[in-house]
Symmetry: C2
Subunit: 251 residues, 2 copies
């Protein structure tokens, strides 16, 4: 038994993710297989013994507290980016803007080392509090032929990602310098069009977008169904370590 009794929900750790902000973080798990993340259990509360036997599983569910959801109230309907303006009920979507802002993401479990999980394919931003890890059980969890309603009708057309010659050289340098899969990560992430179709300013083809991956900043324009990366460089200064937000009821 662990000393302190849990109050209600417990942050078992805070995720370190290659996605440093909400913009360009994927909208579903599995869309960006090159996404890497690390979860270290808070050792003062959660002993590493609680991971015994987990490394035999290839995939895990990550339940998280969606702390970047700053809405003070919730809307009954949301506008999924894929639906180009049409609204559906919040419970018919995986939107983070929901009455209980708990995220459900499926990650590939790359390895377990001590009290640290190495994960890939997640759709969560750096600093997200994780409240639970559960093994993926295909006997209960996999229903390949399940019917999916509105997503069947919605297009998920990917963008073609091209990289300018100078940006290619920059990326090669950054990759040589200890970020081996950076180019792949950026290509996969931008292919899913990070723009919010309801934000007109983002739809301007002249707009130079900026997104952060690992410790790098990438600048790109989106014209038609094509994203052109113009610049990739190390961020001017390292991101400040984030304070873990502890909402009431979570500790």
């Amino acid at each position: 038994m662990i000393g302190k009794p849990p109050r209600f929900l417990q942050a078992i750790g805070v995720l370190e993710s290659c996605f440093k902000e909400k913009f360009a973080t994927p909208r579903q798990s599995g869309l960006v297989p090159a996404a890497q993340a690390r979860l270290r259990l808070r050792p003062q509360y959660i002993p590493r013994e609680s991971l015994r036997g987990l490394s035999g599983f290839s995939h895990v569910w990550i339940l998280s507290y969606l702390h970047l959801n700053a809405n003070k109230s919730f809307c009954a309907t949301v506008h999924p980016p894929r639906l180009q303006g049409k609204a559906v009920g919040v419970f018919a979507t995986r939107s983070p803007h929901r009455p209980s802002p708990i995220g459900l993401s499926l990650a590939r479990l790359e390895k377990v080392e001590g009290e640290t999980l190495y994960l890939s394919g997640l759709d969560l931003a750096d600093g997200t509090p994780v409240i639970d890890v559960k093994p993926y059980l295909p006997d209960s969890d996999a229903i390949p032929g399940a019917k999916t309603g509105w997503p069947r009708l919605a297009s998920r057309r990917r963008l073609a990602v091209t990289i300018s010659a100078p940006a290619k050289a920059q990326l090669r340098g950054l990759e040589r310098d200890g970020r081996p899969a950076l180019g792949k990560l950026i290509r996969q992430a931008l292919a899913h069009d990070p723009r919010n179709p309801r934000d007109r300013s983002q739809l301007d083809p002249a707009k130079l977008h900026e997104a952060k991956f690992l410790d790098c900043v990438v600048r790109f324009r989106i014209q038609g169904r094509r994203a052109l990366i113009e610049d990739a460089s190390q961020a001017a200064q390292a991101a400040k370590p984030r304070r873990v937000p502890v909402p009431p009821g979570l500790w």
Copy 2:
């Protein structure tokens, strides 16, 4: 926008389930397809508009607050019934006894009527507060070939369920009287051996077990790999309506 801002987590409704107590409630979703449940959204907080488009999905995730977990603290390791006494880390299991007692269950969505969801295949007891409903997205959620660690090595041998002649007559009467699938439900539920292998008193072959399904009580013995139903009758009195437990942080 809805009037009152959510505090942190919100019970969007309380589940009405055919399983009236923890004993004989299945240990995973999908094990008992005949299990029926109903979730009515709390209309004062959650408008029915939030379900728009949900009926196009065949399956939904139900995130619940596991309120029957009475533990005051948590153990880093648990003993899954299938492992016959061996322990594994809590995060390598779907045990309800975890730092954040949130349940993740997959249900078949039979239909949506107004603000009520009709669900089947759940592993949740009557009175469980539901905090979220999410559509099942096979593109992200189904990984049929995922590797599963310890469950591969554990047997999930089912019990053969037999019904005594008098109990058969009782069941026929109860089914005619408005519970058409009661026999199927009981057979499916008991086949998964509801006993806790660490509770010696439950392993006594002479013990007469009692389990509640819908408004009925079933009495049975388990001998070897065989469950014998000896009696099935309407409960002497209807179960009292349960008070919804509202832990700190949930409202």
